[in-house]
């Protein structure tokens, strides 16, 4: 109370210069602090919550006297004025402030509440600003007990150029990068081995259509680099890498109100095709001619005359080895266009819509569905996330083989009254059960028994990948304004990641089914080129394995029919699986050899000159299966200067022609 009075007294004397900047920050203590209008200097780059247009600020310091958790609030207590506040919390010192967090609206109405752990003896800077208004407010600081969160994220502001699009590898090193784009630039933040990023602004031809509605990635031309598919409101543009940092554009002159796009090998010819949801007409797909051209077909996979197609997601629901597709659909006006569909792959390039017979033809207004094996019983279940609760609620549909059963009741998901257009599933706490990011902007942690509990994510839904290669999945979220990186703080659970390299199948391995066996049982993933609604998430496979310390077996069932069985020696690491290359590969597929020379090699290695043809690519892996280089083969010479001494494996690829070689560098 004494401290509160002191602040009041200072304000009463009109002594507003205190709290006006970091150096004159006013000490605050547990209890109430009354603050008049803000008059301090504002430094625009210090708001931990993102860019804003405020002018004035107020600076306070709090010295922690114990290791505990405190709550700083401007609402939720009787003395609150209810003013619309916003504040950031920093550690460090005035010369070097470090963002800890902050809050805008977590309290009643537009007041703020932020809970954070403090260490005895550390000074915390509380900086309020007038982003919304500049009215008197009251700060209440109290010690609180917060039950441990099921998954925690550290927030980092993301600088981006253009529309944020995805978290996906853009340079062939299998580390997830951050991709945004404008009509003539792709802004990539390349993840480095030390979890930092290097930026590049890659010039592109001026795109007819930009990724306002969706971004999809996949290696369409097999040059080892992922290409991008922009989904725009009146058409699509493919930005195809030239094997370096340049791009060529493919923009069909065809009206498509693009929604979710997917890369998928529709005709199973070993190269990726592109599927695009059409909002207001039948869906469109593009068969890759593997010569830079694509043949466009409208109709055949979702033929509702007026569309309603929002979130296509490819899955092998009947475990027959080919890719089926669920479409999350939406439409006003009591239209049948809102009824969800499942298109069963007949295995001959045709599809049959079987939503009704599978009990999936519901009327939920949905923009995306999160598909995964939530109960680890070996088949894909579907969470249909409502975008509006007007027609129906979120539904959790359990795959029972020949029918999906609505198991929403009692799942914990059915009580959720929040909605979102993004819904996707990943194991965020690495406990071996798939969680749901969606149904609002929170994460729903899977308890392992088809029940879920909400954990606050407090950020916009976005793209998912591993942005610091620590085996815990991170999120890049973006809303109407700023974008942020949410780095998963992790826990003690174990994990494994798989980088899949297709040989007979498409290079990304999209469409492959990955099965993981541990003492806890089986988990499965389908490698997907595009999930959720708007963003592109990592193409790498991630499994949390909880407290398991070893993996009994890993099985990869490739779209080609090749099956690889791998017995990983280590956990908490990333392994590379090359199609057909495991010792126990059940394939009937025997890649040809390639005689590289000299062997052993010194600083350069040569391939037979006749293999140097257009579109040929070469990958080099180390003994651990780590991909070191992947590039278009433009000459018969490979520079080995940067390679440490050791044994290496090389894959040469020219369309369906796959050759494998081995060499030693001295």
């Amino acid at each position: 109370m004494k401290n509160t009075l002191l602040i009041c007294l200072l304000l009463g004397l009109g002594s507003l210069s205190a709290q006006d900047d970091c150096a004159s920050a006013v000490d605050v203590f547990t209890g109430l602090t009354y603050v008049d209008t803000l008059t301090g200097v504002q430094v625009t780059d210090i708001d931990c919550l993102g860019p804003f247009s405020g002018n004035e600020s107020g600076w306070f310091t709090y010295l922690a006297t114990a290791d505990t958790t405190i709550r700083v609030a401007t609402g939720g207590f009787p003395e609150s004025t209810g003013s619309d506040t916003r504040f950031s919390v920093y550690t460090g010192n005035c010369d070097s402030l470090v963002c800890l967090g902050g809050d805008d609206d977590s309290g009643p109405v537009y007041t703020s509440i932020f809970d954070f752990e403090v260490s005895a003896g550390t000074v915390y800077y509380l900086v309020f600003n007038d982003r919304w208004e500049n009215d008197p407010f009251v700060i209440n600081i109290e010690e609180v007990f917060i039950p441990p969160s099921l998954v925690d994220f550290t927030t980092v502001q993301l600088n981006r150029e253009g529309t944020f699009g995805g978290v996906v590898d853009m340079n062939g090193d299998f580390l997830d990068d951050i991709v945004s784009s404008t009509s003539d630039t792709i802004h990539v933040q390349y993840q480095q081995a030390d979890a930092t990023f290097t930026e590049a602004y890659l010039a592109t031809p001026v795109a007819d259509h930009t990724n306002f509605w969706s971004l999809t990635a996949g290696d369409l031309n097999g040059d080892g680099l992922n290409d991008l598919i922009y989904g725009g409101g009146s058409g699509t543009t493919f930005m195809i890498t030239d094997g370096n940092e340049g791009f060529t554009e493919y923009s069909p002159d065809y009206y498509i109100f693009c929604q979710r796009g997917n890369t998928v090998d529709l005709n199973n010819d070993g190269v990726l095709d592109v599927f695009m949801c059409h909002d207001v007409e039948p869906n469109v797909y593009f068969i890759n001619q593997n010569d830079g051209e694509f043949s466009l077909t409208q109709g055949g996979i979702g033929d509702t005359e007026n569309g309603g197609n929002y979130g296509s997601i490819w899955l092998d629901y009947d475990n027959d080895g080919d890719q089926d597709m669920f479409i999350a659909k939406c439409r006003g006006g009591n239209s049948d266009a809102r009824i969800n569909q499942l298109h069963r792959n007949n295995g001959d390039g045709t599809f049959t819509e079987v939503g009704a017979e599978l009990n999936l033809a519901d009327t939920i207004q949905t923009w995306s569905a999160a598909v995964g094996d939530y109960d680890n019983d070996g088949d894909m279940d579907i969470f249909v996330g409502a975008s509006s609760l007007g027609n129906d609620y979120h539904r959790l549909m359990r795959n029972d083989g020949d029918v999906f059963t609505d198991v929403s009741a009692g799942s914990g998901l059915e009580v959720n009254l929040e909605t979102s257009r993004e819904n996707k599933t990943h194991d965020f706490n690495n406990d071996g059960y798939l969680d749901i990011l969606g149904g609002g902007s929170d994460i729903w942690i899977n308890n392992g028994d088809m029940t879920f509990v909400r954990t606050l994510f407090a950020g916009p839904n976005g793209a998912v990948g591993d942005l610091n290669n620590d085996g815990f999945l991170d999120v890049v979220g973006t809303g109407g304004g700023d974008s942020r990186i949410y780095l998963n703080e992790g826990n003690d659970n174990n994990w494994i990641k798989i980088n899949a390299i297709g040989t007979a199948s498409n290079l990304n391995g999209i469409g492959a089914r990955v099965e993981l066996y541990t003492t806890s049982g089986q988990q499965i993933r389908d490698i997907r080129g595009g999930d959720g609604f708007e963003f592109m998430s990592s193409l790498n496979v991630h499994f949390g394995i909880g407290e398991n310390t070893n993996i009994d077996k890993l099985v990869v069932k490739w779209p080609s029919g090749i099956v690889d069985e791998i017995f990983p020696a280590n956990i908490n690491t990333t392994i590379t699986v090359i199609e057909g290359e495991s010792p126990s590969s059940i394939s009937g597929f025997a890649p040809l050899d390639v005689a590289v020379y000299p062997n052993p090699a010194a600083n350069e290695l040569f391939l037979p000159l006749e293999l140097v043809v257009e579109k040929a690519t070469v990958d080099v892996f180390d003994v651990n299966g780590r991909l070191l280089i992947r590039r278009a083969l433009t000459s018969d010479r490979i520079d080995l200067n940067n390679f440490p001494a050791g044994s290496y494996q090389l894959i040469y690829r020219n369309g369906a022609e796959i050759r494998v070689g081995k060499f030693v560098k001295r």
């Binding site: 993102g50 409101g233 009206y255 975008s387």
Partner: protein, 362 residues
């Protein structure tokens, strides 16, 4: 030469007996509007003969082409519009609810032309497109005509395209619009109820006001429709709940806002609209209710955490409606179709209205 001589012989020389030549009726030149539902849509706009005179671009209306304008108009990237209605001889529309389109007879054609004035470099008029909506056996059908550069003809094209328009706007500033000409499915997205195509503008609530006609005369539009034989019964003007021109500050602010929302938003945001699964109802007949307007109604999509309500009274920047009307990128902006640039004046109207709303959302 030979034939000339021969002609001369025929014309001169001895007088043959006078034979009255048979009276050959010159082919009657069709002059009225050409509406042949079985043959429509025509490939060229001129085939309809909506306009007379040598210069199609003058858009001089043919007989029985009746110009009209809604009281409150849709924003279309600052394009100007001219609108006409035509009905077959001896047919007329009947009037239903104030907020519903008139019950039009088969063969009705609605012709709407979009153009810009002061288009650079020569500060000339450029006509972009003419949209033709016609009622064929109970079904409304779309035909989209794209004007050529010479401004002499417009050609049927329902595939959709964009065209760059650089013009001097009313403030005297140069402005650029990447103008979108709709594909057929884009027409339907706005012009429908359920999945049934309909017009949007010609409702009693939108026509019940004076209008100055191309010939200089002026009068109430509904009365004019009646006098022209286009309305079957004399309208009771005073009984019609009528919108106000959203841009006329003489009128009540909320009425202006509701009139703006009706013509710009309600084709999707009403029962039966493309987006009726969202919680707002913005048709003039429904928007008198604060909840229908979106006041303190939670948003269904996370924007960036700052806009939890569609309208937060007194707080425009906290209001999703303001955010979406302010946005340009198509995944955020509203209206989604028909606009690629900000409508500054409309945004100002909504902003002013939100700022003077009182109360606090829970």
């Amino acid at each position: 030469m030979f034939s000339c001589a021969s002609d001369d012989d025929d014309g001169g020389g001895n007088m043959p007996p006078v034979v009255e030549p048979p009276v050959v009726e010159p082919p009657v030149e069709e002059t009225g509007v050409n509406v042949d539902l079985a043959a429509m849509p025509f490939d060229s706009l001129s085939t309809y003969r909506f306009f007379i005179g040598d210069d199609l671009a003058e858009m001089e209306p043919n007989e029985r082409m009746l110009a009209y304008a809604p009281i409150s108009t849709l924003f279309s990237d600052y394009a100007h519009k001219s609108r006409f209605v035509w009905m077959p001889e001896g047919t007329s529309a009947s009037q239903g609810e104030d907020g519903r389109i008139l019950n039009f007879p088969d063969g009705t054609v609605i012709i709407k032309t979009f153009y810009f004035d002061n288009v650079l470099p020569a500060n000339e008029r450029r006509i972009i497109e003419t949209r033709v909506l016609y009622l064929d056996a109970g079904d409304w059908k779309f035909a989209e005509y794209v004007w050529n550069d010479a401004q002499t003809e417009a050609t049927l094209d329902l595939s959709g395209s964009t065209t760059l328009v650089e013009f001097t706007n009313e403030e005297g500033d140069e402005q650029t619009v990447n103008y979108r000409l709709p594909a057929e499915a884009e027409c339907l997205t706005c012009h429908k109820s359920g999945e049934t195509a309909i017009p949007i503008g010609p409702k009693p609530q939108n026509l019940n006001a004076d209008y100055t006609y191309p010939d200089g005369s002026s009068g109430n539009q509904l009365m004019k429709w009646f006098e022209a034989g286009y309305l079957s019964q004399e309208p009771d003007l005073s009984a019609i709940t009528t919108v106000v021109p959203w841009d006329d500050p003489v009128h009540d602010l909320e009425l202006r806002v509701r009139s703006y929302l009706d013509i710009n938003c309600a084709h999707c945001h009403r029962e039966g609209g493309h987006c009726d699964y969202r919680d707002i109802r913005l048709a003039f007949s429904e928007s008198g209710d604060a909840e229908n307007q979106g006041v303190c109604v939670n948003t269904q999509e996370f924007i960036d955490g700052s806009q939890r309500f569609i309208i937060s009274p007194g707080r425009q920047e906290r209001s999703a409606m303001f955010f979406r009307m302010n946005a340009i990128d198509e995944q955020f902006r509203m209206p989604l179709l028909g606009r690629t640039v900000q409508h500054t004046e409309g945004l100002e109207l909504i902003s002013t209205w939100i700022s003077q709303l009182a109360g606090e959302c829970d």
